[in-house]
Amino acid sequence: MLKLPPLSVATRESIKTALAMVSVYGITLSLDWGKAAWAGLAVAVVSQSSLGMSLNKAALRMLGTLMAVVAALVIVAHFPQDRWLFMAALSSWLGVCTYLSLGAKDSYFWQIGGWVSVIICVNAATSHSGAFEIAMLRTQQTGLGILVYSLVALLIWPRNSRGDLREAFERLQSAQLALFQECRAVLAGAGRTTALVNARSDLVHAQSAVSPLLDAAIADSHLVHERRREWQQLLASSTELTELLERLSESLYQVDDRLLRELLPGIDSYCSGVERRLQALTGPVGEMQPGEPQEYGKIAVEAARIPDSRLLDSAVVTVLRRLLQRVSEQVDSVAQAACAISNEAKSRGSKFPAVADTGAASRMLGNLMPDPDRLGGVARVIFTIWLAYLGYLYVDGLPAGPLILSLAASLSIALAAMPFVAPRKIFLPVLVAILCSGAIYLLVLPHLSTFWSLGPLIFGVTFALCLLFSGPRRAAGRSIALAFFVSVMGISNSQVYSFSAVANMLVVVTLLLILLSFAAYIPFSPRPEHMFQRQLGQFMCSCAWLLTGRPTGWRSRYHRNLVARIPARLSLLAGVIERRYLPGDSEANLRAVVARCEALAARINALVEARLHAGDVAGKNATGAALESWQGAAADALERLAAVTRKGERPAPANSSAREGAQLREIENLLRQYHGATGAPAGSQPDGRQLEGALLLLGVSRSVSELLASLTEQLRGIDWRKWSEPRFF
């Protein structure tokens, strides 16, 4: 018997997508539903590397389509005879969807909600069918594509994400252990090595891979679905642990080793205990045995050894001690969640309470907060759609005007998420896709007379494209190729062949990309280096405001939201800045700037929290005034930095840090006087909690000051003048 070689994952996935594509065309043509390309598009987009990911994307596409149907029908019903109000309402809706898609976790849902409503409105306005029929046809064809692909993916070589999820968690826990070990090495006096930076980077990558896999595994594995609360708890605890370890790795270089050992003599054994527990976590998830509850323990402080002259250094040790204790607690929390997933825990019927997502409300609020970058994206999308609309109305003989509007909406929303991608860069792939599809449409399709000859053609082309663009990195290329393949072919029961259809498509895409290139400069420059400068300036201004402004109120929320979001954008932009702007060591400087900004964001957040909790201590005496003076000086330094980096000038050396250091010394003296005051009324003496709060405030303030000096030095290593120099390309 002939034994076939095993098929690769890419081949299997390509066969599944091709089979689903042929099936949707077969069903649509046999039932004469029309617009078969819409069902083909749904298949092309929802086919992902695993069943769970496909199901999640399919759900977002379907729900987004339903929302778009409602929005489109409401707009058409309200403004059927007034084209300006109609367009104003449609572009406003598109703007809302764009804004929400740029901040939400499920951005695809909002993207679909925006551009599908434009497609329905445009088709309703330019065809003989009514808006309701168009909307229903779009829903029907999208549903058909999703249903057929889901069935094919479920029945043929189903590939769930459970194994990938376990591997991702194991990689994450190994990365957490590796970073903790590097932190210990630095605490032992090994210096801040590149290994620490690499371990931190590995951890960030490992952490980012877990969340989408968990969503996919919940959708495609009933074992994970059954224990989803435990898995979500494990993810939440692991994310918290990763954040704590990142903060720990950034805190180490400020600590005086000798003082640390003097004040915390038990730190080595404490860290050994944490490392042991982290090592126990690195086995396969779900096979852990629930052990005895771990004692968190505390790092004993030799209070008697706190040197009076080094209260400021002691404050930094206080911050480190608190951080280590939180790491220890979080390790136990991860261990408990991992044990709960194991079979033994399951058999004992231990049930985790539902994960209390305490951050959901603040995330939602943050998503609705004004954000200059996202508002810029909205302005770009609205400008593009209006320009396309005006062109459609007033340029005589513009080929395929409605198509320009639909494509302008979809492409501008997609590019709003990555404004640094120049539209001209997608011209060549699109041109190749149209020419190849056009060649098949004009040279091959006229020779086919039945579905039995058309089917193999659709299967072969889809299979080849999926195989050519296999893998997550090429997913965008596959979507573009398949989308233009189904659009150019325009397969229907009453098939027509026209050279002008292909030529018009080419002209439309060329005009659209020119339009998008023009709109890309609205309202900011899309060049990555300019975006980086602008975001960095915004970040520093927000940090400066948080240092001096009230820690409560909506303005504080606005700036905290920006400070939390911008470091991730800086990290993304740093990866796409062209090498010619980063000669010599500039690339390392740029990475260090991003790392310092991430650390600064965490410290500023901690400082705001500390100010909220220690306000009573700081406000009662001269310490409060001295602290305000330091905050003002640090805010001035940040604003100066923001101004010079925006102008493209080299920052001055960080000599101002000496002044800020002196101010911190003054706070230290005031705090010591306050703490050691004799003869003061008993009521005015701070208790232990207040003093710890004040020490924490002092420690975080010092780390902000040092980070600021370090950030200035790194910024000086970059040639900002070259970054700001105007260029064509």
Binding site: F499, A503, F518, Y521, E725, P726, R727, F728, F729
Partner: protein, 70 residues
């Protein structure tokens, strides 16, 4: 060139003269912009994107009027 509307035939496909002039104008403007970048002359322009659009229009008109006839 006769001052009457005409089309240009490329392999039997008739194209409007403005399209051909625009393609040539775009190509010439791109090459000029790259040369400016190469010799660091772009820094003398306040807004290179607007200059590029201006150059495309100027080149298109020059090609159209003197070589193609629009």
């Amino acid at each position: 060139m006769l001052p009457i509307p005409h089309e240009i035939s490329l392999g039997g496909i008739y194209l409007p003269p403005l399209l051909l002039a625009a393609v040539l104008g775009f190509g010439a403007a791109t090459m000029t912009a790259r040369a400016f970048d190469h010799y660091r002359l772009s820094r003398y322009f306040a807004s290179p994107p607007l200059v590029l659009i201006g150059m495309v229009i100027i080149y298109t008109l020059l090609f159209g009027i003197f070589f193609i006839g629009i």
